[in-house]
């Protein structure tokens, strides 16, 4: 069976790639497009390290086939900063020390961005439940939640 | 004379003797003196024993000085996670 030829938009750029049916969007991003910011922590949708948005919807890229994304719009961690300007979430994660090892950070940032785009004023419980699919083993989540709340407050004002 | 105490299984090698008074002024001298008295201890001393001199634990250092009235414990080395 020939590989699938897929055209999609990644971080605003039109990209083309070839993939086998069983290759996931995460495989395509990391191995095909060299976008290694999305991380593979489990390949079963349980850790959220590979979070991306697909037509604006937050998903685990390990649970999407590469051949499914033809004509669709994908946003990854690599597309979050605009030029030299970090996204406010990225800035707040740095200021609040909301990362230790950093492996889960891209997934948290992508997921938190999707939350704030839907709900600019979430309470702590909403943030915690929205981010429950993103595992972090280093921080105990405390500083991550605080960074997201602080970003929301800053973006509202 | 420094007071030297073997902690844990090391005392088995010395036939149950766990405490010594030894005229050692460095860890190296201490190890030499202990090995002289109990040759069976020698490989264990080379094999990862930490030395606590007056409460301060030293791992893997031969040159640390020992005072004449120091209290010295030989304890297993610690690593960590």
């Amino acid at each position: 069976m020939a590989k699938h030829h897929v055209t999609a938009t990644v971080n605003g750029d039109e990209v083309e790639f070839l993939c086998e049916t069983e290759e996931t969007l995460l495989d395509v991003l990391r191995d095909g497009l060299n976008l290694t910011g999305s991380k593979e922590g489990c390949s079963s949708g349980d850790c959220g390290a590979c979070s991306v948005t697909l037509d604006g919807r937050l998903v685990c890229s390990c649970l999407v086939l590469g051949c499914e994304v033809g004509g669709r719009r994908i946003e990854t961690i690599e597309g979050m900063a605009r030029g030299e300007r970090l996204h406010p979430l990225q800035q707040k994660f740095l200021e609040h020390a909301a990362l230790q090892c950093g492996i889960c950070t891209p997934g948290f940032l992508v997921a938190a961005k999707a939350l704030l785009e839907r709900d600019p004023d979430p309470d702590e419980t909403e943030v915690r439940y929205w981010l429950a699919g993103n595992l972090c083993r280093c921080t105990g989540y405390d500083k991550i939640i605080k960074a997201v709340m602080a970003t929301a407050a800053e973006m509202r004002s | 004379m420094a007071r030297v105490v073997l902690v844990g299984n090391l005392a088995q090698i010395t036939g149950g003797v766990a405490e010594f008074d030894l005229p050692a002024s460095s860890v190296k001298q201490l190890f030499d003196l202990l090995s002289e008295r109990h040759p069976a201890l020698a490989p264990h001393l080379a094999e990862g024993v930490a030395v606590a001199i007056d409460g301060q634990i030293y791992q893997d250092t031969l040159h640390e000085p020992i005072g004449s009235d120091s209290e010295v414990f030989l304890i297993p080395q610690i690593a960590g996670g």
Binding site: T24, G45, S51, R57, C62, L63, V64, Y129, A132, G133 | -
Partner: protein, 286 residues
């Protein structure tokens, strides 16, 4: 491994019916992809049904609701009118996995994965949902409780797939709820699940009711005895106790890594009661 994304049921059914090896329907993929990656499944053909319009639509129909088999939990939540009519169903669909998983996981997939612990299934069964199935012989309607036969075993024939679900109209004074027990607050498979749907009679007592339990048997159970236990009551203490007892009596679970027979049986009663109380509260407000 072939991948096809047909735009009509006719093509989808023909592909599935004509497959030589293992053929799988892809909706959200949150179970299928995991099983492929773990080498549990290695299908010859994958048929992605998301390009068939009916599978992706939520529409009001004959006073009730038609929900496409490939509508995601996140999309269900965004339909305010559906959420008001069937809050338990929408909540159940949004207990499947994380936010990320809810962006992909579908009612059709959750049912056809064939797990007795599927979160949306007890809520659908309690709601009296009917699956609309298309296949080589045309279309047929099956109550959701009759779709699953046992772990990974469905009553669908080769070439058949679920197109959509129909949720019946809601009389005034109706409410539904779904609760599940998991050790954490999120991300786990249900150790026990309980769905309750009820409608109050003119006197404010429980009239028609359905109770469904998940993860306590080889498939999701419809428990008529539990519904009878609260019929005609206002869920006072004795009715609650009858409901708990009836729910527990229906359980035939197993011991596994997620829970024990004793735990599942005991908690099934507790969740049935708690879900019924929420459904009652909703019915009174409706």
């Amino acid at each position: 491994m072939r991948y096809e994304a047909p735009e009509s049921f006719e093509t989808a059914v023909a592909l599935l019916a004509g497959a030589k090896g293992d053929a799988r329907v892809l909706a959200g993929g949150t179970d299928l992809l995991v099983q492929m990656r773990a080498d549990i499944l290695d299908p010859e053909l994958i048929v992605d049904i998301k390009k068939i319009p009916e599978t992706r639509a939520v529409t009001e129909e004959r006073g009730g609701w038609r929900i496409g088999a490939a509508v995601t939990g996140a999309e269900l939540k965004e339909s305010a009118r559906l959420k008001k009519a069937w809050p338990g169903v929408v909540e159940a669909a949004n207990l499947i996995g994380s936010t990320q998983v809810q962006g992909r996981a579908t009612l059709g997939g959750n049912l056809c994965n064939g797990s007795p612990a599927a979160d949306s299934v007890p809520a659908l069964i309690a709601a009296g949902a009917v699956a609309s199935v298309v296949g080589p012989k045309g279309r047929r309607e099956i109550p959701v409780e009759d779709v699953m036969l046992g772990p990974r075993k469905l009553s669908l024939q080769k070439g058949e797939l679920i197109a959509s679900f129909f949720l019946p109209p809601r009389p005034k004074g109706s409410g539904d709820a779904y609760l599940r027990f998991i050790p954490r607050t999120e991300m786990d498979i249900a150790v026990v699940g309980a769905g309750v749907s009820l409608t109050l009679d003119g006197a404010g007592k429980i009239g028609a009711a359905r109770v469904s339990l998940g993860a306590v048997a080889e498939k999701v159970l419809l428990v008529p005895a539990a519904a009878q236990a609260m019929a005609g009551s206002t869920l006072d203490q004795p009715a609650q106790e009858r409901l708990e007892a009836a729910a527990r009596a229906a359980c035939r679970p197993i011991d596994d890594k997620r829970g024990t027979v004793e735990f599942r049986t005991q908690v099934a009663g507790v969740l049935a009661r708690r879900a019924a109380l929420i459904a009652l509260e909703r019915a009174r407000a409706n």
